[in-house]
């Protein structure tokens, strides 16, 4: 039901998530934000089981902040991703595993932009583009076809729009709007929400 997507460019990462918070067949909220700011240049996008998402994401968020307070400098996106994965893995075979699917996007001042795909079985993969949810089945091939490593910001947004158009056309569920954010060396920028009007 939920959808996450991330596209990495030369010097930025573009991420988007749908805005629906649902409970069985009812849409409880249509402007729900699924992105968690881990630090000035790292975002964690989190979907999955109710309760687990917020609890796990906030746990990671607070621990990343704690690291900064204790050590005086921030965790890099790669380190944050591995930290997250380790936590997920540690809980996987406990009585209370977290059923969450994640995308971690960040900009490292030395290594540049990075997008990390993580799933509920605690696999971690650094990827140029990634998506979660049923919508991923429809849009990964679009990303395969049109993605280039040297995409400009506008081209990346257009690629994102192509994906969202496909969801509107073929996905059985209605996802009316998406929060879009871009991370680059300046930090996290809120882009315009992608809303699909009645076309």
């Amino acid at each position: 039901m939920e959808y996450l997507i991330g596209i990495q460019g030369q010097d930025f990462v573009l991420v988007a998530a749908d805005n629906v918070a649902a409970s069985s067949i009812i849409q409880m909220k249509h402007d729900y934000d699924k992105m968690f700011k881990l630090s000035e240049k790292i975002l964690l996008l989190c979907v999955g089981e109710a309760g687990d998402t917020v609890q796990f994401a906030e746990y990671i968020q607070k621990n990343v902040q704690l690291y900064k307070m204790r050590n005086g400098y921030e965790l890099s996106p790669a380190a944050a991703a591995n930290f997250t994965r380790k936590n997920l893995a540690d809980y996987l075979r406990s009585r209370t595993p977290y059923h969450v699917n994640l995308l971690l996007a960040g900009y490292d001042d030395t290594d540049g932009p990075g997008l990390y795909y993580m799933d509920h079985l605690s696999s971690l993969a650094k990827a140029p583009f990634a998506a979660h949810g049923y919508g991923a089945y429809l849009t990964l091939s679009i990303l395969d076809r049109y993605y280039r490593p040297d995409l400009s910001r506008d081209e990346a947004v257009d690629l994102l729009k192509k994906c969202v158009e496909e969801l509107k056309k073929r996905f059985i569920l209605n996802l009316p709007s998406f929060t879009v954010r871009l991370i680059d060396k300046e930090g996290i920028h809120d882009l315009e929400k992608l809303t699909l009007g009645a076309k």
Binding site: A21, S23, I25, I26, M28, K29, Y32, E49, A50, G51, D52, V54, Q55, T96
Partner: protein, 281 residues
């Protein structure tokens, strides 16, 4: 609303009360007072069978669990509760029927819990779960007030409740509640449930009749309603839900939360409303 005779496992209640607790030893073959679902099993049984005071009648509905997997209790959330924000605060409207299976156990249940003079909580799901956890929340809110010399915000109160029930996720708690209040950020409305959801919003309906209530509310709600209009909208939405949903009924209890706190507005029997609306149309 489902009334079920329940015994919490010794572990859970003792740790919550953290003191000399009564010996709630757990026996999975316990009988139930009303036709509830199968009992929770595999909850870290500690009590030794044989020394407890249980009624050891094998419950025909309780299928033995050999694999120790926690069985989810099939509660029906038989109720309709709703709340919405508008310019003058928050309107909270609930029905008052409690069911045990298809038996109507009561038509006069109070489904709004008065946490403190400016915070309300609604009840949907298991009656015991809701009233217990919201009473616990009231205690936590009072402790916060005493420690910080300041009223607790609605966001913080709902987060406390959400974190409390998250620890019991998967163990069979059934609770769908809305925490409504007024704090220094204005009117506040949060939906919290035993699955772990906690969502801030302007309008919620919870329970088996919630879909019917959503229909009426969505088509009538505006930010600039007067208090009178908003009360009537809440009342009508609950009435329409009780009309269609078999598990909702009784009376409509209406509350209004404003900057000074909450006020009980009215209590109307659904049958009386039915004749009133029929004559109106």
């Amino acid at each position: 609303m489902l009334l079920v005779h329940h015994t919490f496992s010794k572990m859970a209640l003792a740790s919550v009360l953290s003191g000399d607790s009564a010996d709630f030893s757990f026996d999975s073959s316990q009988s139930f007072a009303f036709g509830g679902g199968p009992g929770p099993s595999g909850l870290g049984l500690e009590g030794t069978p044989g020394d407890s005071l249980s009624f050891s009648v094998k419950n025909p509905l309780c299928v033995g669990d050999d694999d120790g997997v926690e069985r989810k209790i099939e509660f029906l959330h038989g109720t309709t509760t709703l709340a919405f924000k508008f310019q003058h605060g928050v309107i909270v409207a609930v029905d008052s029927r409690a069911t045990a299976g298809s038996y109507i156990a009561s038509q006069t249940v109070k489904k709004v819990i008065e946490i403190n003079p400016y915070l309300l909580g609604t009840m949907a799901g298991g009656a015991a779960d809701c009233s217990f956890w919201e009473r616990l929340l009231a205690r936590q809110c009072r402790i916060y007030e005493l420690r910080n010399k300041e009223r607790i915000s609605v966001a913080a109160a709902s987060k406390l409740l959400a974190n409390m029930v998250y620890q019991y996720k998967g163990m069979g708690l059934s609770m769908g509640t809305m925490v409504c209040g007024w704090d220094k950020r204005g009117p506040g409305l949060y939906y919290v449930d035993s699955e772990g959801n906690r969502v801030c919003g302007d309008l919620f309906a919870v329970g088996s009749g919630s879909m019917y209530a959503y229909g009426v509310m969505d088509s009538g709600v505006r930010h600039d309603l007067t208090v009178e209009e908003a009360c009537e909208l809440g009342r009508r939405a609950i009435y329409q839900a009780t009309y269609r949903d078999a598990y909702s009924g009784g009376q409509v209890n209406l509350y209004h939360v404003h900057s000074e706190g909450w006020t009980r507005i009215s209590q109307d029997d659904v049958l009386v409303l039915h004749h009133q609306y029929k004559d109106q149309a």
